[in-house]
Symmetry: C2
Subunit: 478 residues, 2 copies
């Protein structure tokens, strides 16, 4: 820790008292996110009111102290890890949730938990669709930082599509507000959306106005099995071409299905053990779902090897339990995972399925893949054993090959996780030098001293080379 | 024209030949948009291929020539007028429209006409909802520049909600691409959305990938009349609180209704002459519309003075014809119009109706007001006679009062028109000094020489003091 940081921290402590924690335990707890790589900060600040944050930023600028904002730290990308030390701003106390049932909007603090927002909206008949798998733990602030998605993305959209306005601080410490609590706004540059997905590099979000939609009155779940991955992804394309938009449309490849089956001791689709599946859910008004149901059954009859509708709530739960199991179960295939969330344009679905089969064969690694086929966002999980040098090398080569192919196919290297530390080696595959230059110019313009979440997104870090903490987090997939 | 600009234009002409028009007629035609205030450029460039634009920008930077991009110039805000002279880039030739019917996306050039995109999508069963009233003329590039809205905004959203990816040039001349043809993208800063609504100040858009949604199979139109404006806006709030989302929900105040009635010689709602109305349209699947219809009729029975459903296509057309007539007919009330498109949060609907009644009374001016009540975006038209100094002064005072009140009520000074020149006096009511400073910093970062659409958004211009061309444009409201 530099002498300047010590002076700055002492001043901060004098101003904010007990809101500043410099204890070893406090600093350790804020030193890592779900990537489980630890970088110790010198203090953790828990703001009680917005103005605390302005003060933190002014001092941080004066003494050039790095500031990393965290919600619950569920990100797998290292985005919330204070890689350059300094101060961590813990936003969990700013967790207000107020529903405006007339306008269909939620006014929330950055520290509000996503599922709490969903529940508060639901009590008034409204629905907040973005649903990252950690939604019982993660915060809206974190969701905004990485533009989180989830299973509902294909039909309803991602976090960005539900953010109406933001409040927060510029890196230089001034309070700002981007947008008003109105669905239309066309006055001045749109820094709201520049902030969304900028992973805390361009400012500190303290609160948001979120858009809600009417809670669907009816839902219907169907499980379909296919001979192989190419057939499954082709069938998905046929469904979307018919302009049928399921609320959820989840694909699990054979390896993912096998993981789930080993973990649960049950067959995902009885009679179709080990087959790739698509699990889909329709949502809407009662009659809308009925209409769509007919179309989806007609599709399943011609496209699937077998299909099966859930007949009651218990069956629905059983089907979705499988989807949730597959991710954790993967650790039977290796003790390390390169967890990617690439996006493939629909026109290249089958081509990508073929590429993935080749990648598995060539790398000799298990690469269970599942994800959201309504929007092409697939979770590709490259499994290996850390202690095995050959496997580690094969995993590194596989992830490079994957990212190059994704970009060559017109896709995105991340759909909902963001870059953080973990994807920094691939940012320049996605963006040409002019694009990166423009981003860095914007960063410099808004954060001239580079204090907000330094070391993320643009500096290349090979995260798999760092030691990982051997801890279990509450939201880890079991 | 400066000597440098002459040198630059000569070089440009040598490189691009007939694509550069320096004729008086050509320059005059590009000297104004629908604000009808003329500022002569020194050349108009019509790019045939993207690379032409890179060349233009490189030369413009070298010689500091202002560059103003135009589509059809339907904006009323002066955003496409070359207020500082220089070069105009005319994008109309870049008008490609390709529909990807599998993915539900349109790949379009910036010069593609909005209604052409809608028609191309419709032939394949897809729907592009944003529908500015000039949609038969205006271009997607222009829609992106001002984040255009239209009548469908409340349920479906505005241009921003349908832009998946953008291509174009940084002000410094490099080709960039923001996003991929995928619904999810979370890699790097989001300069796509920073560009949208930035009115050509941060780059030149050459093409876009647009999201489409399934074409609604059914539509149903209902006209409702109310005792007064407060009752009408209260009734709208009751409808939205019940989570009924009409595809279109248009409000016309008494003065707007009277304008339409005078223009057509017909009564808008027979038996309810001169009453404020709400005209709404439901859209969706056949059974969805049937469900909603029941709810809307129940609402109309309790809330409206009278209501009337269109029984056939001809009746639907007749109802919407009224809505289209009201704007042009206003020029019977004055030869000048301050055309505002403010946005009011739903919670303040009735309060705003009362304010508007006071404003009309105090200013002694006709202020016919109509607009999109599903999103609070109201077109407030302050009518006066230019030659009448008292009226002109009253109009200026009224617009100031309007904007202050809108911001005090938590609303937006523009919902879909943008700032351009016309709303520059009000930008700082909406945005605090830190917000403006951040916007200017971003501008400087991306356009260090300030060549892209200079003089817009941030420099205060009182557009009503400029002489207006006495011309009729094809898209002028008749």
């Amino acid at each position: 820790m530099s002498a300047l940081h010590t002076v700055a921290t002492r001043q901060l402590k004098r101003r904010l008292g007990a809101r500043v924690d410099v204890s070893a335990a406090g600093c350790w707890a804020a030193s890592f996110d779900s990537s489980k790589i630890s970088f110790l900060p010198v203090a953790v600040i828990t703001p009680r009111v917005e103005a605390d944050i302005g003060l933190v930023l002014v001092l941080a600028n004066k003494y050039r102290v790095p500031v990393t904002v965290r919600g619950r730290g569920t990100t797998l990308m290292g985005s919330a890890a204070p890689v350059r030390g300094g101060w961590v701003l813990d936003m969990l106390k700013l967790n207000r949730v107020v529903i405006d049932a007339d306008a269909g909007m939620a006014h929330v603090g950055a520290g509000a938990v996503t599922a709490d927002v969903q529940r508060a909206a639901a009590t008034q008949g409204w629905f907040y669709p973005p649903d990252p798998s950690s939604k019982e733990y993660c915060t809206i602030g974190g969701n905004i930082a990485c533009n989180a998605g989830g299973m509902h993305g294909g039909k309803y959209g991602v976090t960005r599509d539900f953010v109406i306005a933001l409040r927060g601080f510029l890196p230089t410490g001034e309070l700002v507000q981007w947008g008003t609590a109105t669905k239309k706004f066309a006055a001045g540059f749109n820094l709201r959306d520049l902030w969304i997905g900028s992973e805390g590099l361009l400012g500190v979000v303290t609160g948001a106005v979120l858009k809600l939609i009417p809670q669907p009155a009816a839902r219907w779940t169907l499980l379909t099995a296919f001979t192989d991955e190419v057939a499954a992804l082709k069938a998905a394309r046929v469904l979307f071409r018919a302009r049928v938009q399921p609320a959820i449309c989840e694909f699990l490849d054979r390896e993912s299905v096998l993981c789930a089956e080993r973990a649960t001791g049950q067959t995902v689709f009885p009679g179709q053990a080990g087959r790739p599946v698509i699990l889909l859910e329709l949502a809407g008004t009662v009659s809308e779902v009925k209409d769509l149901q007919r179309e989806v059954l007609a599709w399943a009859r011609t496209q699937a090897l077998a299909y099966r509708a859930a007949r009651n709530r218990a069956e629905v739960e059983a089907l979705w339990a499988v989807r949730r199991k597959c991710s954790g179960a993967m650790f039977e295939l290796g003790d390390a995972k390169l967890n990617e969330d690439i996006v493939i344009p629909m026109r290249n679905y089958e081509k990508f399925a073929k590429f993935l089969a080749r990648l598995k064969r060539d790398s000799q690694l298990p690469i269970p893949t599942f994800g959201h086929v309504a929007d092409g966002n697939l979770h590709v999980n490259i499994m290996y054993h850390r202690a095995n040098a050959l496997e580690t090398k094969a995993a590194e080569a596989a992830v490079q090959q994957l990212m190059k192919t994704v970009v060559a196919m017109g896709g995105a290297i991340s759909g909902e996780h963001g870059i953080g530390l973990a994807k920094t080696p691939f940012l320049r595959l996605q963006h040409n030098p002019a694009q990166v230059k423009a981003m860095l110019a914007v960063k410099k313009a808004l954060d001239p001293r580079g204090i907000c979440n330094p070391g993320k997104m643009f500096s290349v870090v090979r995260i798999w080379k760092f030691p990982k903490l051997a801890i279990q987090l509450p939201w880890d997939h079991k």
